[in-house]
């Protein structure tokens, strides 16, 4: 009885051992198959791998809490495409400004002749030249790189970020601050009402400058450009504050907007090429404003007021010898 039981037990243990091994093998194969399926077939991504674009967006973007970034050279291949090969001198790296708006970044400025502090302040703070005052030679301190700006960030926040980055990039204790100061300003008042200017119409016809819509306001002085045809780079559309900013930038006078309602939603203007070619100071800004008054019914009066002015200062001696680029 005992022997028979033992024999039976031996057989059972032999069978169970084989069974156990078989189950182990089956389990191993199943685990491997599931692993293989999960690893190789479960996932179905849809987008192709455009790594160059992804990398560019990683560099040319801002984190959630970031409002400004400066990217110095060397630049990415996509940046070279954005800069536009064939534009400017072949060796120029140039400087660019990308504005971060809803849906991504877009290029808003390109320069080929080198970046200076004056450009950086203007591009990042969206302030025209007469609203910022520079101490000593700070205006022409060079820098190299592209700016990425968050457009919906408050001006004070952008100024704070710009100051921090300029200090690191230039190695100088640059300070950007806002003060209330008494300054000469041009007050733009009255109602925006376009008028036909016969003298202007005659000049346009005489010099074959092309056809312009009636709503185009021409920014010019004594003589319109003798170049026939229209350079559409000179024709722009924007709102009234933008139009006044263009006048500020052109005349280097500060404007105060007191234009009464109803204000135009859009304004189209054409800047005479002569204004671009001729340095400020060699033409009379008052004449330009008189011409605008004739076309738009606006009134421009020069007066003194206490207005906010941005100052770019240097607090102390350079922290790093050399500084700059």
């Amino acid at each position: 009885m005992g022997r028979g039981f033992a024999t039976c037990g031996d057989r059972l243990s032999g069978k169970s051992s084989v069974m156990r091994r078989s189950w182990l093998v089956i389990a191993g194969v199943v685990v491997l198959a599931v692993l293989a399926w999960l690893l190789c077939f479960a996932q179905k991504p849809t987008g192709p791998a455009a790594l160059g674009k992804k990398w560019h967006e990683q560099v040319y973007s801002l984190d959630e809490d970031e409002v400004l970034r400066l990217i110095p050279p060397p630049y990415s291949p996509q940046r070279a495409v954005d800069f536009g090969r064939g534009r400017g001198p072949p060796t120029a790296l140039g400087e660019m400004v990308y504005q971060l708006q809803q849906g991504g970044t877009r290029v808003t400025q390109r320069s080929y002749g080198g970046g200076y502090l004056v450009n950086a302040v203007q591009w990042v703070m969206f302030l025209s030249r007469p609203r910022v005052e520079y101490v000593k030679d700070l205006m022409l301190v060079p820098y190299a790189g592209d700016w990425i700006v968050r457009t919906d960030a408050p001006l004070e926040r952008r100024a704070e970020a710009l100051q921090s980055i300029l200090r690191q990039a230039m190695g100088r204790q640059i300070s950007i601050e806002r003060r209330m100061e008494d300054r000469e300003v041009i007050v733009a008042s009255g109602k925006w009402e376009l008028r036909q200017d016969p003298e202007l119409a005659r000049l346009i016809k005489e010099r074959a400058l092309g056809e312009f819509p009636f709503a185009t306001t021409h920014l010019y002085t004594t003589a319109l450009s003798p170049t026939p045809g229209v350079r559409w780079d000179d024709v722009k559309t924007g709102d009234l504050p933008e139009f006044l900013r263009v006048l500020e930038q052109g005349t280097m006078w500060r404007f105060e907007d007191e234009v009464t309602e109803p204000r135009p939603r859009f304004v189209t203007w054409r800047r005479d090429p002569e204004l671009r070619r001729t340095p400020t100071g060699q033409w009379n800004p008052a004449e330009l404003l008189a011409n605008v008054e004739r076309q738009t019914s606006l009134k421009f009066n020069k007066t003194r007021r206490t207005v906010p002015v941005w100052f770019v200062l240097e607090e102390s001696a350079p922290t790093r010898p050399g500084g700059g680029r």
């Binding site: 190789c40 991504p45 990217i71």
Partner: protein, 191 residues
């Protein structure tokens, strides 16, 4: 000893299995595993991204640097990231891929992104081949262990596999001691 050998075998076979599966996967999904690091030097942030990209039978290790100036108190994000794409050949997904050089599927790229960027393309067959070479000796040793254990368990001679259940202390076929020791010399190979 046998237990350790089994563990070693599993450890050496695992890369082969994973490598093979990733090879198949590279034709179904392109993976991009990256590690971003950054350190501040002289005011500027020096970023380096190291990544491994798999696509259509190729594995790429790459390194790409760039520089930024950021507002103080806003350090860049660093760490791991994984992205998955439709299977894309590196030649289509990497900028300036054609500027590299190589043979037999191996490819090396310099400055493909900006100055200082490097990438090395390794075909998956080479990865799998290396894994095979690595695990082959372990598999052979493990097999030998498994055969010996099976023979010992089933009353067979450990050396030649002859049935020694009815034999005395020595295998009548090869003379190997049933207790596991031979009178002279080493045991013959069970295979």
């Amino acid at each position: 000893m046998r237990y350790l050998l089994n563990i070693l075998t599993v450890l050496l076979v695992a890369p082969l299995v994973v490598g093979g599966l990733l090879w198949i996967r590279s034709f179904r999904v392109s993976d991009d595993l990256t590690w971003d690091s950054a350190k501040q030097e002289g005011g500027k942030w020096q970023h380096v991204q190291r990544g491994i990209y798999a696509g259509k039978g190729k594995l790429i290790y790459y390194r790409r640097p760039w520089v930024t100036y950021r507002e103080a108190g806003h350090p860049p994000k660093t760490g791991w990231d994984v992205a998955h794409y439709k299977p894309t050949d590196p030649a289509d997904s990497f900028p300036n891929y054609a500027s590299g050089s190589g043979r037999f599927g191996f490819w090396s790229m310099k400055d493909y992104w900006v100055v200082g960027s490097r990438a090395l393309v390794i075909p998956f067959w080479a990865v799998t081949g290396a894994a095979v070479v690595l695990c082959l000796p372990a598999l052979m040793l493990a097999r030998r262990g498994w055969v010996r254990a099976y023979r010992r368990q089933h009353g067979l001679c450990v050396a030649c596999g002859y049935d020694v259940r009815a034999s005395g202390k020595r295998c009548p076929e090869c003379g190997f001691s049933v207790s596991g020791k031979k009178d002279t010399g080493e045991a013959p190979d069970p295979q």
